[in-house]
Subunit: 278 residues, 3 copies
């Protein structure tokens, strides 16, 4: 109860504070992330030129680093912006898209983790396994079926999140059919969302953006991570409910997902969230 | 009346002439700009490799330079394309996204303005202030609340647009709750649009694209700028009207905005435009 | 009949096999391509850093190379990924966007064709003409009206597709009002689709993605190409049918196109396809 009312408060605060979130992100889902940030009440800015990222992050309330379409040029910008954010005490959210799929991605993820102190890391179970050095079966940018099946039980994901969280001193969020969020001490399990969220591109990236916006409006980062994940999950449920089942599909679902994020309030969180400390 | 019928004519001409508009733009809103150009009757082409931009702009009817996600590589392409367009008498539209937010952006905007003769510059009030060398309070890529409040009165925006227009010898369009367009001699004020336009990413960029398409079909560039702004404003009003208020949000609004731009005609301009010479 | 049932079977197989399709593509339509791949049952991954493209393509079932926004950096990645795919026997689909519009595009297309053995090349008639060394009148990225008018008769497109197919030893698909697909021996003509498909950005790119996904689930690549084109065409027809004609436009059409691709089944192909061997 207490937890829910704090998350609810944060969701309402975000609309008042309009946190500015600097993104260094991929070119696949960047527009969806910008619109998500606006829909939830934040203000997105995307900038990846090394000459300006330190200036840009200095005026931001949070930094999102997403490695969906990595390249050598922007890796240097990620490092510069991340270090500057650390210096200024600005939260840095990391989305290690596709880590484990190629040696380069794994290498860069390691380098980013070594040189930047992340506030929150969000990934699917394959990605979090790869980052943890556990054998993962990443296939492209989606979680493998093998890895996903472990989510049903939940204990494996909880252990993973806790261990990585303790090792890196940051909040870890594993999203999937069930979501697990840990700061090493407390661990939460979220039983919301809808399977259609996995049928459109970029819901992982958008969730990371929502976490970024929420962390830009609080100092309690496990709360920020939980709020971001819950907003995405509840908006997904409500989008599906409002869908005309006779002729709709993924296109309409994506539009309605955006609609629902723009309509969500703290009160909706209180009413719909299924979040449990484990 | 005479003005409205000329804008109306231009909007209809655009659908016949299908101007080809070369964009060197950011990767956040580029898809929306391409679809906007098509929706209004133009033909978009995006190309930013320095080896080809001069060839590409040579077959275009207008060039749009948008600095949303600047980087060193594409700045050189912007310069090359802009100079070629100047040489060939092709109109060049400039969207100085986020100028003032970082020193790099301000520097690059200055360099572009020095080396390219722009036909139209469109920005929000914070951006136009920054370009004018007036103290602005740019926060990321959105106009600051402080600066926006000045729009209500209007005289400050009119003075800014006139002065910058005279200084650079180009049309200046300041968009916001009220839009101001000046070529130094004549200044127009547009009282159309809808607040939801500021709730989705890229409406500024899309407006610049619309101006680009319109300027690709006329030699009267203040008319082209006014037509582009009016199309966006009226489509925004009509999109909001057609919205199901019970369960819609920003996702549906964006879809309907695109719908309305694709349906707009010169007749709609005559019926709905609130444009005044000031 | 036999042909239709094989295409129908392939469309259903795609949903079971979920082919992973590595894209090196442009930043204009990349999000639409990712969502199309997911909608039809595939799994998209976008990666263009030369350090990782060989690793990425090695785990993929098909590679799509789309030159919409070419630059020197990604050309090298295209070459590396394409050669690796050839080595491993992974099908490579080429979309020569805008070839002929600039000398650079023509040069790069030639270089890609010389160094990579493509499985399928898909383009509009202006692009296929330019690649064939026939005088084309490419205007930006859309087929010219002159070239398009030749599609009505069909024999010119058939000859072009057959000749290029024999010359390069690959399947050639020319899409437009009528689609022509040839492997040099057999040539098919498809009379499906809807004019609104040309009113939104990226339907060519999305069609190439659909071909990529289908070719990732079969060894019969002319079948894969035909399936991809038919999915796009039939989804376009069904999207238009389901459109509210009173207030809809290109925005709604695009959403419904995505909806229909996500709903399409082999049975729909059997019922709606108008494909003929010529």
């Amino acid at each position: 109860m207490e937890l829910l009312s704090r998350i609810s408060q944060l969701v309402d605060d975000v609309r008042k504070k309009q946190p500015l979130v600097h993104h260094i992100t991929n070119y696949v889902t960047v527009n969806d992330c910008a619109n998500m940030a606006l829909a939830v009440g934040g203000s997105p800015v995307m900038a990846d030129e090394i000459e300006e990222v330190e200036d840009m992050v200095s005026i931001a309330n949070a930094l999102v680093i997403n490695m969906g379409t990595l390249n050598k040029r922007t890796v240097e910008s990620m490092l510069a912006a991340g270090k500057k954010a650390n210096e200024l005490g600005i939260p840095v959210i990391f989305d290690p898209v596709g880590v484990g799929a190629t040696r380069y991605r794994t290498l860069i993820a390691q380098r980013l983790i070594e040189e930047i102190k992340f506030t929150v890391i969000r990934g699917n179970i394959s990605e979090i396994k790869a980052i943890s050095g556990v054998q993962a079966t990443t296939r492209g940018v989606d979680a493998s079926e093998e890895d996903s099946s472990e989510l049903k039980d939940g204990r494996e994901a909880q252990r993973l999140a806790q261990n990585l969280s303790r090792k890196l001193g940051c909040v870890v969020a594993i999203t999937g059919a069930v979501d697990t969020i840990s700061n090493g001490e407390k661990t939460f399990s979220i039983h919301n969302g809808h399977p259609m969220l996995s049928k459109i591109s970029g819901t992982g990236c958008m969730c990371t953006t929502l976490i970024g916006v929420c962390c830009g409006a609080t100092d309690d980062f496990i709360l920020g991570a939980a709020a971001g994940v819950l907003i995405m999950d509840l908006a997904g449920e409500r989008a599906y409910e409002s869908l005309d089942k006779v002729c709709s599909g993924v296109g309409s679902f994506k539009v309605k997902l955006m609609d629902q994020v723009s309509r969500i309030s703290g009160q909706n969180i209180v009413e719909g969230a299924k979040i449990y400390e484990v």
